[in-house]
C-alpha cells in the first residue's frame, strides 16, 4: 500500500511541477490502403520518449515547448523522420508506405520486428496476420486460433478441439473478442477450422498475463482480434479457394473523400461435397459459413463512427439429427477526440451464441444459447510526456437460455418445456496509469473494480443446511442435497458480488538490448462454462455465478527477461509464471450437463495452480524468419470437499488438470527461396494430456466393463507433427492488378498417428486399448488471390 501511495505522490509532484506542455497528436495510417496502424511508434528521439498508437491508430503525447526530432515507424514500413516546432498544440496525421523487399534488406532498427523493452507490458504476444497465414494447418486452412498454440504457454487438446488453453487455464477462461464483441465458440466444424476469416483480420494480440485493467471477465487470457476497417482509397478484392472452404473479401471507400470505407468478407465450406467423393455415406450434411461486414465513417476530424457485424454458423445433419450453432455479433463504436489530450471510445455491443438441435425421431427441437448486451466507455488521457491514464466503465447484461424444448412437427408428443432463463449484469470501473519513472523504469498500475448481479425473476431451490450437494459416507458418492423449499426471487437479486482487481506491471530497462519485467494481475470470472466431456463441445452450457456458484478468482505473478540482439536479428523472451485460482468448478463422477436445471447439485468447488517457464526465440530478419517456443509447465487442481463434505475428488489430493502439458515445443520457420517461391514449416511437440484409464475390468449382467482409476492419473502419448508448405506467387507484373499464389501444403509430413482419442474394448479374451488419430499425412492445395 505504501508503494502505491508513493507512486501517486511521485505522479502528483511530477505533474504539478512540470512546465507548460503542448500536445503532439495524430493518426498513423497505411499509405496505400488508408488503414489505421495499431501500435505504430512515435519516437521523440532527442529525449528518448515515445508513444504508440492505440487500437484506432491515434497517438498523443504532451511535451514541453521545444523543437524535437520525431520518428514515426511501424514494423515492415518505411519510417518518417521530421522535426517539429512544438510551441503550440500540433495535430498531424501520417501515412507510412510498406517497405519494398529491396529496402527491407537495408532497413533501420525502427522497422524491425523486435520486442518493446520499455513498455510495462508482460506476457503479451502480437501475431501478425502474415505470420498466421504462413503456419500450415490441416487442409490448407488459415487458422488464427490454432496458430496461437505455436506461442509459449498456449496449448490445445490436440486435433479437432474447440478453443485453446493458456498457462494451464481451461478453454472457457479465455476472453475472445472480435472488434470488442465476445465470441463464445471460436471454431467451425467442431474445431477443424477457426471462426475467423484470416483475410479480414488486422491484428491479433494475446494477453497471457499482465492483462490491462481495461479488460476483465475471464481469468486466464484475453485475445483481442481487430478487423480491418476497409481500404479508404481503392476497391480491393481478396480471396482464396481451398479444399474444404473458399473465402472472399471486398473492401473499398464509401466516397471519394477518403473519409470512410467498408469491408465485407465471407467464407463458406463444401466439406460435405468433398466427403461424398471419398465415401458413399448418406444422410449427412456438414457445413459452415461466416460473414463479416464493417463500415466506418469520419464524421469530422474528431469523430469517427464504426458499425460492424459478424455472423458465423455451423450446420450439421446426420439422418434424424439436425444440429446448428453459431455466433452473431453487432457493434457500433464512436471514437471521439475530445481534446488534444483526451481520446474516448463508446461501444455498444450485442453478442448472441445459439445452439439448436432437432431430433426427428423424437419430433423434438432444442434451443439454448447466451445473449449479451454490452456498453463500454473508454477514455485515454495523455497527461504528460511520462504519464498516460486510461479509465472507463463497462456493463454487460446477460440472458442465458439453458434450454427450450418444443415439438418440431404436428402430432409430436413432446411437451413444451422451458428451463428458466438466467439473467445477470456484470459491470466494471477501471483506471490504469502508464508512468515512465525515468529512462529505465516504466510502470503500469491499474485497478479494475468489477461487480456482478445475478438477477431475480427466477425460482431457486433451497437446500437443507444450504448444501445443494451432499456426501453419502456409506456409499462413498456425492448425491444431490435435500430440497427444503423453493424461493421465487422476483425483482430481488439472487446474489451480488464485487471485487477489486489490481493489475501491476513494471519494466526495468537494463541496457539498450535487455530489460526485466515483472507483472501481477488479479482477475475475476463470473461466467462459467459447464463441461464434463473429454473435449469442450458446441453445446456446453454457460452459467452465471449465483447463490451456489462463486466467481473464479485468480492471482498471477510473472517475471520475464527480454532481449533484442545487437543486430536486431533475434529477439528472446524468457518468462516464468505462477498462477493460483480459487473456486474452479469440479464435477461429480459421471454427470451429464445437458438439460440440467439445478446444476449446483453436481458441482464441487475446487482450486487450481499452474506454473511454468516459457522461452521464445524469434528470428526477425532475413530470408529465413521464424521462432522457437518452448514451455515447461505444470497445471494441477484439487477439490477437497471442504465445503460439500466428503473426500472431494481423488481423496482431495492435487491431480493433473486436463490442460497440463509438461513440455510444449513449437518451431515455426519461413524461408524466401526466390522472388516467386517461398517455403515454411511448423513442428509441434506436446506432452500427452492427462486422462483416466481403467484400472481393471469386470462383468455385470451381460456387460463387460472397465473399472476406472482415480481422475487423470494416466496420460495420452506425446502429440507431435511436422507440417510444410510451399507458396508459388504469380510472376510479378506491375501492370497486372491480379496477384495470385498457389499454396501447396503437407500436414503431418511423417504421418505421425497421434493419440487424439483412446477407447477401451472389452472382450472375454481380454481388454484392449485402441487409439484413434484424426489425421495422418494430409496434402492439400489452395489458391489465394487479390486484385
Amino acid at each position: 500500500m505504501k508503494n502505491i501511495q508513493l507512486l501517486i505522490f511521485i505522479i502528483f509532484v511530477n505533474t504539478i511541477s512540470s512546465q507548460q506542455l503542448y500536445t503532439f497528436s495524430g493518426i498513423v495510417k497505411d499509405k496505400d490502403s488508408g488503414e489505421t496502424l495499431i501500435d505504430a511508434t512515435i519516437m521523440i528521439s532527442d529525449i528518448n520518449r515515445g508513444v504508440t498508437t492505440n487500437e484506432y491508430g491515434y497517438f498523443s503525447i504532451n511535451l514541453p515547448s521545444s523543437t524535437y526530432k520525431v520518428i514515426i515507424s511501424y514494423i515492415g514500413y518505411e519510417f518518417i523522420e521530421e522535426t517539429i516546432e512544438l510551441n503550440k498544440n500540433i495535430r498531424e496525421n501520417y501515412s507510412l508506405s510498406m517497405l519494398s523487399s529491396e529496402l527491407e534488406e537495408v532497413s533501420l532498427s525502427y522497422n524491425y520486428k523486435k520486442l518493446n523493452l520499455r513498455k510495462a507490458e508482460t506476457s503479451v504476444h502480437k501475431l501478425n496476420i502474415e505470420e498466421v497465414k504462413s503456419i500450415p494447418m490441416v487442409l490448407g486452412e488459415i487458422d488464427p486460433i490454432k496458430s496461437l498454440s505455436s506461442l509459449p504457454g498456449v496449448s490445445n487438446a490436440g486435433e479437432n478441439t474447440i478453443g485453446f488453453n493458456v498457462r494451464g487455464g481451461a478453454a472457457d477462461q479465455n476472453l475472445i473478442t472480435i472488434d470488442e464483441a465476445v465470441i463464445y465458440n471460436p471454431n467451425h466444424l467442431i474445431g477443424l477450422v477457426s471462426s475467423f476469416n484470416g483475410d479480414a483480420i488486422k491484428s491479433m494480440k494475446l494477453y497471457k498475463g499482465g492483462i490491462p485493467a481495461k479488460y476483465g471477465g475471464r481469468i486466464s487470457s484475453y485475445l483481442d482480434i481487430k478487423l480491418k476497417d476497409g481500404n479508404t482509397k481503392h476497391i480491393k478484392v481478396e480471396g482464396g479457394i481451398g479444399v474444404v472452404s473458399s473465402r472472399l473479401m471486398i473492401e473499398g471507400p464509401i466516397n471519394n473523400k477518403e473519409n470512410g470505407s467498408f469491408l465485407i468478407s465471407g467464407r463458406t465450406s463444401y466439406v460435405e461435397n468433398v466427403a461424398k467423393i471419398f465415401t458413399d455415406i448418406k444422410g449427412f450434411r456438414l457445413g459452415f459459413y461466416d460473414l463479416n461486414a464493417k463500415v466506418n465513417y469520419n464524421l469530422n476530424e474528431n469523430n469517427r463512427l464504426f458499425i460492424s457485424s459478424y455472423l458465423g454458423k455451423d450446420d450439421i445433419r446426420w439422418n434424424e439429427i439436425h444440429n446448428d450453432f453459431g455466433n452473431f455479433t453487432s457493434i457500433i463504436r464512436w471514437n471521439n477526440i475530445i481534446n488534444n489530450k483526451l481520446f474516448s471510445n463508446l461501444s455498444l455491443i450485442h453478442s448472441n451464441y445459439e445452439y439448436n438441435l432437432k431430433l426427428d425421431y423424437k419430433a423434438m427441437s432444442w434451443e439454448s444459447g447466451i445473449k449479451s448486451y454490452n456498453v463500454k466507455y473508454d477514455l485515454s488521457n495523455n497527461y504528460s510526456d511520462v504519464l498516460n491514464i486510461e479509465y472507463g466503465l463497462a456493463s454487460t447484461y446477460y440472458v442465458l437460455n439453458p434450454g427450450y424444448i418444443t415439438p418440431s412437427e404436428a402430432g409430436s408428443l413432446i411437451v413444451v418445456k422451458k428451463l428458466q432463463d438466467k439473467k445477470a449484469i456484470e459491470s466494471a470501473l477501471y483506471i490504469s496509469a502508464d508512468y515512465e519513472l525515468n529512462d529505465n523504469i516504466s510502470i503500469r498500475l491499474g485497478l479494475r473494480y468489477s461487480m456482478f448481479h445475478r438477477l431475480g425473476n427466477y425460482t431457486l431451490k433451497l437446500y437443507q443446511n444450504n448444501a445443494p450437494i451432499i456426501y453419502d459416507d456409506q456409499l462413498g458418492v456425492y448425491t444431490k442435497g435435500i430440497v427444503t423449499s423453493e424461493k421465487d426471487y422476483g425483482s430481488e437479486s439472487i446474489a451480488v458480488f464485487s471485487e477489486p482487481e489490481p493489475r501491476l506491471a513494471i519494466s526495468f530497462v537494463l541496457d539498450d538490448h535487455n530489460s526485466l519485467k515483472f507483472g501481477y494481475n488479479r482477475t475475476i470470472q463470473y461466467m462459467h462454462l459447464l463441461s464434463n466431456t473429454i473435449s469442450p463441445t458446441p453445446y456446453d452450457n454457460w452459467i452465471p455465478s449465483g447463490k451456489y456458484i462463486e466467481p473464479k478468482k485468480a492471482n498471477q505473478y510473472n517475471i520475464g527477461l527480454y532481449n533484442n540482439s545487437d543486430d536486431y536479428i533475434y529477439s528472446t523472451q524468457i518468462e516464468a509464471y505462477y498462477k493460483e485460482t480459487k473456486n474452479i468448478l469440479d464435477y461429480i463422477d459421471g454427470v451429464d450437463f445437458i438439460a440440467i436445471e439445478n446444476v449446483e447439485q453436481n458441482i464441487l468447488r475446487g482450486e487450481a495452480v499452474s506454473y511454468g517457464l516459457e522461452l521464445m526465440v524469434k528470428k526477425n530478419k532475413g530470408n529465413f524468419t521464424g521462432w522457437i517456443s518452448c514451455t515447461i509447465s505444470k497445471a494441477k487442481q484439487r477439490a477437497k470437499g471442504d465445503i460439500e463434505g466428503g473426500p472431494g475428488v481423488n481423496n482431495g489430493d492435487w491431480y493433473y488438470s486436463n490442460q497440463d502439458r509438461l513440455i510444449d515445443i513449437s518451431i515455426v520457420g519461413m524461408n524466401k527461396l526466390t522472388k516467386r517461391w517461398s517455403t515454411g514449416f511448423n513442428f509441434t511437440y506436446q506432452t500427452g494430456r492427462p486422462s483416466t484409464f481403467p484400472e481393471s475390468r469386470y462383468s455385470y449382467g451381460d456387460f463387460l466393463l472397465p473399472s476406472y482409476s482415480d481422475r487423470n492419473t494416466d496420460r495420452y502419448t506425446p502429440y507431435h507433427h511436422l507440417d510444410i508448405f510451399f507458396t508459388r506467387k504469380r510472376k510479378a507484373n506491375q501492370r497486372r492488378r491480379w496477384k495470385g499464389e498457389w499454396v501447396y501444403s503437407i500436414y503431418n509430413v511423417y504421418n505421425r498417428q497421434n493419440m487424439d482419442l483412446i477407447y477401451f474394448d472389452n472382450e472375454e479374451e481380454g481388454g484392449s486399448a485402441t487409439k484413434f488419430s484424426y489425421f495422418g499425412i494430409v496434402p492439400s492445395i489452395s489458391y489465394n488471390f487479390k486484385f
Binding site: 479437432n160 450439421i316 439429427i321 425421431y361 456409499l475 466431456t533 466393463l705 482409476s709 477407447y759 485402441t770
Partner: protein, 269 residues
C-alpha cells in the same frame, strides 16, 4: 447427437485407428455384486465375482471359501440366507447364491449383507412398482435421409415424486433412460427406435440405479466420441462397511419388470 459429427470427419479425412499397449494404474481386485431380484419370480439370486487386470482374460472369479455369509434382510427384520449353487450357474467367473424363501413385496426395502474375506459388504434397495403399459403403436416415418420405424407406448406415472424409468431390449442390450421430456400430464410416453420385435422391458427404478446404468451404458459404448462424458468411477448402492476404501463394484437391484410383448402390436407394412 455426439458421435455423428466426428464420424463424418472420420470418413472424410485420413483418420486411423490402431490397437496399442498402454500402462494402466495399479490394478485392484474388487468384489463385484449383482442380483436378480424380480417381483413375482420365486427364486432370488446374488452373483459374486471379482474384477481383474484390464488386459487379461476372464479369471476364475472368487474363491467360494472366502464367502462366509450372503443374506438379505427385509424391512420387517426377516433374514434370508443365500447358498452357493453348483454347476452351470457359475460362469464368467461369477458364483451364484440363491434362495427360494424370499417373497418380494412392493415398497419393501431389502438389505443385502455379504461377508467376503472377513469384510462386510452392505447394499440396500427398495422395490418400486413399475406401471402397466396402457397402449402402444408402431409408426413408420419416411425421413429426408432415412426411413425409420418407431414403437411408441404409454403408461401412467405412478408415484407423486419423480420416477426414474429404464427401458431395455434384452436381445440387443439397448437401454433408454426416460426423462421429464416424455411426460405429458400424468402419462409418460416412450418412443424407441431400435428393437428386434420381441420383448421390451419397462422398469421403474431408484434414481441411483437409473444414473448408475446410464453411466455403465456410456462406459460400455464409448468409441470415437470426444464428446463422451469424462470417464469416471461408477459406484453402485453397495459399500464395504469394514474397509470403505475397498469399495465393491456392481449393484444390488430389486426390480418390478413389466414386459412389453411387441408381436402383440400391429406392425406397419
Amino acid at each position: 447427437m455426439k458421435a455423428f459429427c466426428i464420424l463424418i470427419i472420420v470418413f472424410v479425412l485420413s483418420s486411423c485407428t490402431e490397437i496399442i499397449e498402454v500402462e494402466t494404474s495399479s490394478e485392484k481386485e474388487r468384489l463385484v455384486i449383482e442380483s436378480s431380484f424380480v417381483l413375482g419370480k420365486p427364486i432370488t439370486r446374488i452373483y459374486l465375482s471379482v474384477s481383474y487386470p484390464y488386459f487379461e482374460a476372464l479369471n476364475d472369479g472368487i474363491n467360494p471359501s472366502d464367502v462366509s455369509e450372503v443374506s438379505v434382510t427385509t424391512s420387517k427384520g426377516n433374514t434370508c440366507r443365500y447358498h452357493l449353487i453348483q454347476g452351470d450357474y457359475n460362469y464368467m467367473g461369477k458364483y451364484t447364491y440363491q434362495s427360494d424363501e424370499l417373497l418380494l413385496k412392493l415398497d419393501e426395502t431389502y438389505t443385502l449383507k455379504i461377508v467376503y474375506k472377513n469384510e462386510i459388504y452392505i447394499g440396500k434397495e427398495t422395490l418400486l412398482e413399475t406401471p402397466e403399459v396402457n397402449r402402444g403403436n408402431f409408426n413408420y416415418n419416411q425421413g429426408i435421409y432415412s426411413d425409420t420405424t418407431y414403437f411408441t407406448f404409454f403408461f401412467d406415472d405412478l408415484y407423486v415424486e419423480d420416477n426414474f424409468y429404464i427401458i431395455q431390449d434384452y436381445s440387443d442390450r439397448i437401454y433408454y433412460f426416460v426423462d421429464d421430456n416424455n411426460k405429458s400430464d400424468d402419462e409418460v410416453w416412450v418412443r424407441i427406435t431400435e428393437f428386434d420385435y420381441s420383448n421390451v422391458v419397462l422398469l421403474n427404478t431408484s434414481e441411483h440405479y437409473q444414473k448408475y446404468m446410464s453411466v455403465l451404458v456410456s462406459q460400455r459404448d464409448v468409441q470415437y466420441d470426444p464428446y463422451a462424458n469424462a470417464t469416471s468411477i461408477a459406484k453402485g448402492n453397495c459399500y464395504n462397511k469394514t474397509n470403505p476404501d475397498n469399495y465393491p463394484l456392481g449393484y444390488f437391484s430389486v426390480l418390478d419388470e413389466k414386459v412389453i410383448h411387441l408381436p402383440d402390436y400391429i406392425v406397419p407394412n
